[in-house]
């Protein structure tokens, strides 16, 4: 009874749009005319048309976008976790100016994504960009690289910007976990003469693991929904598309509410799947440890 208001609010702001999206994914509705549409079953997902497969799941662009998204999520989240861990360990040590540094580290996270994407877009510009200028002065590259123009480098450019932006978020979550660790364990370890690396691997890491897993799950879900950075930074062709930009293109550019909703539903399913996997993995491991 007490949670009823919360559930109603949740149903109104999350459940209703979701249900509507799923419903539209089974119709041939179009953006220009919402009054006429017909139920088409699973045709938007996968259907047959004149002897050929048709629908989102038969579209090579969708699979390319899914591959891009997974690849982006894997690499960016791994890099962010590693760097975030290093940052957090450094920031956890007491040294003069630590408070100031902690605040400074957060700046990339505080800048709106579209602004930082634009900023990086100019920094990565092939003709006037500061990145090319620096690398050329250092002698790393012989001539300017068109970072955002090629599919190969464009995804890397997006990963670099994403890592730059979200590592502070990772560092902050891990730092919070580090601050919670009881200092007596470290006292005991110091008295026993445990080496720093061993201390980290056997004491610190297991203790912050729950927080780390939550942070990784958060970032993975965000990365799977990646849209804004790619939209602003790259050429917008199918070779740098993510599943979210695929859904947007169908819905807005092509007016295909049916196909677009099907793609959006698939995005939702993919993310739900990853969430469930994360939660189960966490629960199984916790349970295993409790029985041990």
């Amino acid at each position: 009874m007490l949670v009823a208001p919360a559930l109603i609010v949740l149903a109104a702001i999350a459940g209703w749009p979701l249900a509507r999206t799923i419903w539209f994914s089974f119709t041939d509705a179009e953006l220009s005319d919402f009054s006429h549409y017909a139920f088409v079953g699973f045709a938007n997902y996968l259907g047959r048309f004149e002897g050929d497969w048709d629908g989102v799941l038969a579209d090579p662009v969708w699979w390319g976008a899914l591959w891009n998204t997974l690849w982006f999520a894997l690499i960016s989240v791994s890099l962010e976790t590693l760097l975030g861990l290093v940052f957090a360990l450094v920031l956890a040590v007491r040294f003069p100016g630590r408070g100031m540094l902690r605040a400074i580290v957060l700046i990339p996270w505080a800048i709106p994504t579209v602004v930082s994407a634009r900023m990086w877009g100019w920094m990565l510009n092939d003709q006037f960009g500061i990145v090319n200028d620096l690398l050329m002065r250092l002698g790393v590259i012989a001539e300017p690289v068109a970072w955002t123009a090629d599919a190969g480098t464009a995804l890397w450019a997006v990963i670099i910007v994403d890592v730059w932006k979200t590592t502070p978020f990772m560092a902050l979550l891990i730092l919070a976990a580090l601050e919670m660790l009881p200092s007596d364990i470290y006292e005991a370890a110091r008295l026993d003469g445990v080496r720093p690396l061993e201390l980290f691997m056997r004491v610190t890491l297991p203790l912050i693991r729950p927080a780390l897993l939550v942070a990784v799950a958060f970032r993975s879900l965000d990365a799977l929904r990646m849209f804004d950075l790619i939209y602003v930074l790259t050429a917008g062709g199918s070779d740098t598309m993510t599943i979210s930009s695929y859904a947007r293109q169908q819905l807005v550019d092509f007016q295909e509410v049916g196909l677009g909703s099907a793609a959006a539903t698939l995005v939702f399913l993919a993310i739900a799947l990853v969430t469930v996997a994360c939660l189960t993995a966490n629960r199984v491991r916790t349970a295993a440890e409790e029985t041990r």
């Binding site: 179009e30 953006l31 220009s32 005319d33 919402f34 009054s35 048309f49 004149e50 050929d52 048709d54 510009n125 092939d126 003709q127 006037f128 300017p144 690289v145 068109a146 955002t148 123009a149 090629d150 599919a151 464009a154 790259t234 050429a235 917008g236 062709g237 199918s238 070779d239 293109q249 807005v252 550019d253 092509f254 007016q255």
Partner: protein
Amino acid sequence: MRGVTGAFLIIVAVSTGISLNGAARAADLAIACSALGKERELCLQGIDEWAKRTGNTVHIVSAPNSATERLALYQQLLAARAPDIDVFQIDVVWPGILARDLVDLTEAAGPHAADHLPAMIKSATVDRRLVAMPWFADVGLLYYRKDLLEAAGRPVPRSLSELAETAKLVQARQRAAGDPGFWGYVWQGRAYEGLTVNALEWIASSGGGTIIDDAGKVTIDNPAAEDALITAAGFVGTVSPRGVLNYTEEEARGVFQSGHALFMRNWPYVWALGQSADSTVKDRIGFAPLPAGGPQDTPHAVLGGQLLAVSAYSANRELAIDLVMHLTGREEQKRRALAGSLNPTIPALFDDADIRRDAPFIAQLRPIFEQAVARPSAVAKASYNKVSARFFDAVHQVLSGTLDSAPALERLAQALRREEARRGWGR
């Protein structure tokens, strides 16, 4: 509670007051026009004159600057059959998408339709209904550096191969002279509508057609189109920077206006900026028709521009049509050309004595406008965005070297034919 009821009553009173006023005296119209640069001011002056003459009132609703957002907003309003806006300023490729929510202006325009550029009227005609009137026009131009061509003793190129040759020569000269970042040719290669325009210009100027012909048949998989794309792909990394694959109009202008490129494909708006006081290349640039594919081909620039359309849900349809006819009429287009250098869509105006004297740039565009081609938006109708996206995607892959020209165009044609078979153009 009483406060709320009071406020509601006031709103009702005010709104009925307005509508009663409207019925008794004059109508209150709304026009959605662009607020880009000087456009809002020019729009305001134009409607003020009409309002004064007819005794009605018109107010401007500023449309979003981004074309994609503008289209999405219009579609929402029209899909909801909202009578809030009577007249819409629309892009030349939108009539096909919006046609069913727009009023047929054939009768109102009468013989005046023939005064306008034929390609403009063609874009505005969907299923034999003239759903919008041309307001101002845009066209692709080849900008060049006068001083560098003179120094190299080369003429303005007339074909793509001549352009590549001259670009290579001057690029090597400039680089040897101490500008390592100098490029021969910059254009718009990002995978967006601008690439559709650029690629269509290469292909149409090589005799390769316009993706879909007037009858709705997909024609893009032809040898002339394949060759045109092979030539263009040859620019990337040689005379054009690889980064051109992510350039829009402004990135290209940045390279050209800072003096780091010999040639540039762009719209007329660049002329005024390139000749402004703070431009590095002031008085050293010229413009010409875009080059043709081969020596025997005719060059075709792609037509851009804006039209005015009347909403089918307007409560003041006749007045709205009258306003559109006034704004797109000869006098108003001349005023806008002189006051804001917006290109008229009435070819006769290019020879107007005042325009020749005060806006010579516009007068010189006439031959380019007359050979301009329209994108296949009127025939692809609501599917135009999809056709364009598939086209620029295929072209982008050819330009970046992931696919060869012939298989890319074959795949594109197959996808487009399937699209047509599945839904028909612009269902």
